[in-house]
Amino acid sequence: MPLVEHFARPPSWLLWILLYFFFAGLGGGAFVLGTLLRLWGARADQRLARTAFLVALPCVLLCPVFLTVDLGQPLRFWHMLAFFAAASPMSVGAFALLLFGVFAFVAFLDALHDTGRLDPFKPFAELLAGPLGAVFYVVGAIFGLFIAGYTGVLLSVSNQPVWSDSWALGGLFLVSGMSGAAALLVLLGVRGRTTTETVERLELADGWFALIELILLIVFLTTVAVAGSLGQAFGRGWVLLWALAILSLLFPILASPTAGRVTTGTSAAMLARVARENAIATAGIVLLGVLALRIAVLFSAQL
């Protein structure tokens, strides 16, 4: 197979787009995890489900801000919503972001109501507590998955080296967003009053996400290598960020939640504290890895 030749100019998508990709992953992932906890979790998991929805909206609200600031003509952001091009992930994503914003907003109000702070929302909350609510949250989660993953597809649908040399970026960003969201919820859960078991389950989920991400990362780098762009991806010291991204995945994969297994005795408290500190450290490293992955992907192709 001949090596792919690229003559395209980089679009200078740098800091603002990096932040957009980061928060889109966290926001979409948080909504998905919140939905899983809400619909398939135990009662004890509902506190963290609410936290997920309370976190998802601010993340999603930041996204259009970063996108707009990055535009050459910020006041023309709405032009993306006056035209639809199915072949352009940026066009599809603009509408998906708008729709997901609606889901995230309603879920945010529902979560706020659950904490007893928004009584006027009660009729809607009662509606959302039934089967209609389940459908609402599942559809919202599908949009959340899309928001977390389409940013990778957007990069692939170009003629840039590294980005367009692989089909794996969409899935990579999606599962990386899920992993980052799980880490964020672990951080918030550990620091809050959430039971250890809920946090443990999220840690376990993060381990799975990290495993899928690691496989996709290997696939991505292999496809880039086959296309002959690995030198660009690893050049200028970017290899360190790739290494950080890969290393950060090993922690949740190898981490073994233990706190819940010891429930009595004087060592229980100490073990719980160690588990808690491990959870915090692992989550922090995962979030760093999520950011490192996006920096490496975005910047190595452009700088």
């Binding site: 009662r43 072949a87 998955l145 969409g170 009053r193």
Partner: protein, 310 residues
């Protein structure tokens, strides 16, 4: 005879690089007509090139490609020193149009590709897609720019400025069918003395055909142009990208379900599970939620929050 340019007909450029002398009259005429200021002059140490590239301020760019052999040869066959006036190709299958999220990039009534400046919002997606590195971003206007094929001149039945200024007719403008016939004849004429000569973008093998096509004296890669195998559209990755994301999404949700799913207790209970955190660091009755909300802090239907004011 006055030039007649009719909407609905296909127009374009045929750039015959075999007669380009690198005078850059095309660059000057383009800037003059379109009011382009140009970039700050820079010494690029690249042959006679001090323009550098096509961008928001340079819609024509004369490339100089030196292939002068160390040993003297009898005949260079037109390949020793290549000059080529590069420009937007106005592709039939335009990558920039494909990804533009605002509809700012359109095909005009002259079959050329045009960026509407009042619609473009400066997202730069077209820049990431253009395989010829033609489109540039202007920080002055906050929008993307490229050759318009002198759209305003065409509307007045005037030849584009670069073609008008070219002293050797290296840049020819006209109806696409006429240009293609002229190109075929020219190729036949030069092929005997320049065996590597070839038409680039004349047929549909490169982006469905280019409205601005070229007679090259060497292979396309020598000029920094993608060959037919590498002339690929950005949307080739749509299917694989979305499919990969879909499969990953399904796997991730399944993984999440495996980790998170557990049976929900039929009745709420204040202390429904063993909590090491609660055991290790008691935080009072609110650790598992007040009784009125089912022990998890979540309000149940029918339960009322204690009011603090009457």
């Amino acid at each position: 005879m006055a030039l007649q340019i009719s909407p609905g007909e296909k127009y374009g450029f045929f750039t015959d690089t075999s007669v380009c002398i690198g005078c850059k009259a095309c660059e000057v005429a383009c800037k003059e007509w379109n009011g382009l200021q140009g970039n700050q002059p820079a010494f690029l140490a690249d042959s006679f090139d001090n323009t550098g590239q096509l961008d928001a301020e340079n819609w024509r760019h004369v490339k100089f490609i030196e292939q002068v052999p160390d040993a003297s040869t009898a005949v260079g066959n037109g390949q020793a020193w290549l000059m080529m006036s590069d420009v937007c190709k106005h592709c039939q299958h335009a990558s920039c149009m494909q990804v533009c999220p605002t509809g700012a990039i359109i095909r005009t009534e002259f079959d050329t590709v045009f960026i509407q400046q009042d619609v473009c919002n400066g997202c730069r997606n077209c820049i990431s897609a253009c395989p010829y590195s033609v489109i540039g971003f202007s920080s002055q206007t906050g929008t993307a720019h490229k050759c318009t094929l002198c759209y305003d001149r065409l509307q007045s039945s005037m030849m584009p400025a670069c073609a008008k200024a070219c002293p050797t007719q290296s840049i020819q403008f006209g109806k696409l069918s006429d240009l293609q016939a002229a190109a075929d004849a020219r190729l036949t004429a030069v092929k005997a003395s320049a065996p590597k000569a070839q038409l680039y973008g004349r047929g549909g093998d490169v982006y469905g055909g280019l409205n601005a096509f070229f007679l090259l004296m060497d292979k396309p890669e020598t000029y920094g142009l993608p060959n037919a195998a590498n002339a690929v559209l950005p949307d080739r990755n749509n299917f694989g990208g979305y499919l990969g994301a879909l499969v990953t999404g399904v796997l991730a949700v399944l993984a999440g379900l495996i980790a998170i799913r557990r049976r929900r207790e039929p009745e709420p209970h204040p202390i429904h599970e063993t909590s090491v955190v609660a055991e290790a660091e008691p935080v009072g009755p609110t650790a598992t939620g007040p009784a009125h909300n089912g022990g998890d802090g979540r309000r149940r239907r029918g339960s009322r929050r204690p009011r603090t004011r009457s």
